[in-house]
């Protein structure tokens, strides 16, 4: 295997991991606030279709990403209203959000399937982008750099700021946070909306960068893999980053193995990312005590502020 080939694999791994990073970091913040939103897949699809429709009609990708984030945030607000204000079951509502997102995106994108779109352009860094051999490592699109900034920001926010501490307190013990005067529901609303926005961006990345087109259900389970990544990462941002790159590598690895004509049926290779998710989940949740220690204590439980 020559080094040029290796570089190209690294590049495509990073690109494949990028949507997972956005979606999983967002969900991590949501879960840290004690809310389990299983609607990531649905929000991603709505983000993907919004970005594609806006991007291909206006030709402005920036606008496309902003509207994708907005559309997914609106969906997450619906989830927040149901689960936080009306205190519905979070698992059921999240599932509803995914099913609704599937239907809505298929409906909204019906006239756009198979159309072309000009994808996201790489951000050329002077000098570095033209390096021999290593050049491709400095020719990523802006969203890839954005994902690293987001990681850094989420990490700083959660572990180095007062607001992040409040958010984690709300996730660990909402009644205590409420007792000391923290607006539990408002903080949870904001967290859910943040998760919505990043899921929207993750979806937009699918339809405008990873595979610049719109196909019904194109997220192919990535929203669920992002959810699994948060568990895998034991709710820590840097592990999300590492996990996303591992998954990106599995995804790209199986594609390359298929291209190489490895004598294993292509369907088995295609199922590797899903299989890997299961294996990783088993490995990480095997230790019950450790899992219980890491999981935000109020995850998935509604909070009713009493007077």
């Amino acid at each position: 295997m020559n080094s040029e080939y290796l570089i190209s694999i690294i590049v495509s791994t990073v690109v494949a991991a990028t949507p997972l990073i956005y979606a999983a970091l967002g969900e991590l913040v949501v879960e840290r606030a004690g809310v389990l939103n299983l609607g990531v897949e649905g929000m991603m699809l709505v983000g993907a279709v919004t970005a594609f429709v806006i991007g291909s009609t206006s030709g402005n990708l920036f606008l496309a990403y902003v509207s994708a984030a907005l559309a997914a945030t609106l969906l997450s607000l619906l989830f927040a209203f149901l689960t936080l204000t009306l205190q519905t079951n979070q698992v059921a509502t999240g599932l509803a959000l995914t099913l609704f997102g599937l239907g809505l995106s298929a409906f909204a994108g019906r006239n756009f399937a198979g159309l072309p779109i000009t994808g996201l352009k790489p951000l050329v860094i002077p000098l570095l982008s033209n390096l021999p051999l290593l050049g491709p490592l400095f020719r990523f699109d802006p969203l890839v750099y954005g994902s690293l900034i987001l990681f850094w920001a989420v990490h700083r926010f959660l572990h180095r700021t007062h607001a992040g501490l409040k958010l984690r307190a709300v996730g660990e013990s909402p009644s205590v946070a409420h007792a000391v005067g923290q607006p539990v529901i408002r903080i949870r609303y904001l967290a859910v909306m943040f998760g919505g926005a990043t899921s929207g961006i993750a979806g937009a990345y699918l339809s405008t960068a990873l595979t610049p087109m719109w196909v019904e259900g194109m997220s192919a389970g990535r929203g669920w893999i992002a959810l699994a990544l948060v568990v895998f990462a034991s709710w820590r941002p840097w592990r999300v980053l590492a996990g996303a790159y591992i998954f990106g590598a599995v995804w790209i690895g199986q594609l390359h193995a298929q291209a190489f004509g490895i004598p294993v049926p292509s369907q088995f290779l295609s199922s590797l990312p899903y299989l890997a998710t299961v294996v990783v989940l088993v490995l990480i949740s095997r230790n019950k005590r450790l899992t219980m220690m890491n999981t935000p204590a109020s995850l998935g439980q509604p909070f009713v502020p009493d007077r």
Binding site: L38, L78, L82, L86, Q87, T88, N89, V91, A92, T93, L95, A96, L97, L99, F100, G101, L102, G103, L104, A106, F107, R110, H178, P183, I185, R186, E216, A220, G221, W224, L227, A228, V231, P265, Q267, F268, S270, S271, Y274, L275, T277, V278, L281, V282, S285, R286, K288, T291, P305, D306, R307
Partner: protein, 374 residues
Amino acid sequence: MLSFNLRLEKRPLPSSTMRIAAPLLASVAMLITGLLVFAALGKDPLNALYEFFVVPINSSYGVGELLLKATPLMLCALGLALGFKSNVWNIGAEGQFTLGAIAGGGVALFWGPALGKLVLPAMLLAGILGGMGWAAIPALLRTRFNTSEILVSLMLVYIAQLYLTYLLHGSWRDPEGFNFPQSKGFDENATLPLLFEGGRATIAFVFALVLAAASWFFSTKTFAGYRMVVSGLAPAAAAYAGFNEKRNIWLALLISGATAGLAGICEVAGPIGRLQPSISPGYGFAAIIVAFVGRLHPLGIVLASLLMALLYLGGESVQLSLQLPSAITGLFQGILLFYLLAADLFVGFRLRRKVRDKPPRTLSAAAETIQPPA
């Protein structure tokens, strides 16, 4: 102050009337939303609603189609509801459905002639076992390794579909099928008898009704069912009473896997008549909605699956008659579930008119109006 003149008040006891009324309220709200959606799409809303909800079932063939589509939904939802009641979230019914189809279809393809008349029962049995086997994976991982059954069962949906595609591109492909990735058609012995002439519904609908009765009996009249209900409603009480949580998880997943597998084999041994890459328009996922709209109650599920089946037929109908996208079905399904979840609010709360609008005069009255921080 300009605010809602209404406020929510917690009911002393959950309202059993509202528990039944909520799905009806949600359905009405969905219909109204449907009117708005159709109007927004530039169609005469009432006509569109007629095309969507009435035209598909105003013939005996149409009624047959309704029962045909309701059957897999009912079967899957009955199993899922048992799990949801006991807080076991199997959301991979679609995968267990696929494995049921594969296992039962395999019996038909490879042992069909040898089994003669016995092939159909053997297929049904294999289908049930296939679905159970697939659901046993999340059950094992959850009980042994504490792994989320939600994520595992969902991942297995994708794997099951890829496995089916693999088989149909490989050894199970019909050699005379012009290279299409599909199996040979099942012969007469290996297809389910029709429910009535002039329709496509099979006796699988009867299986579903029998199962609904059995499921009602199981959850209300047996100790095992009681244990499951208690573990869902009050996990701590269940643990204190010494109910085995692991047995519960196994039971919930195996039963829901079995019914989903049965649904799968009934679908390929019925209307489809062979194995092909696409055997379900998402029945396994729609069944989650059916289970909730049916209040996790067998009778409710029977009704909800008919409504859901009508949503599928309506989508097909408006696609043909009004050139509207059939994706509208998924939209309505999601909306229905949202409305239901929202309507559930009124099970535990009721709306009351605020008595006072004028500013309070006395200090104690003012203190009463202080709202808790939201």
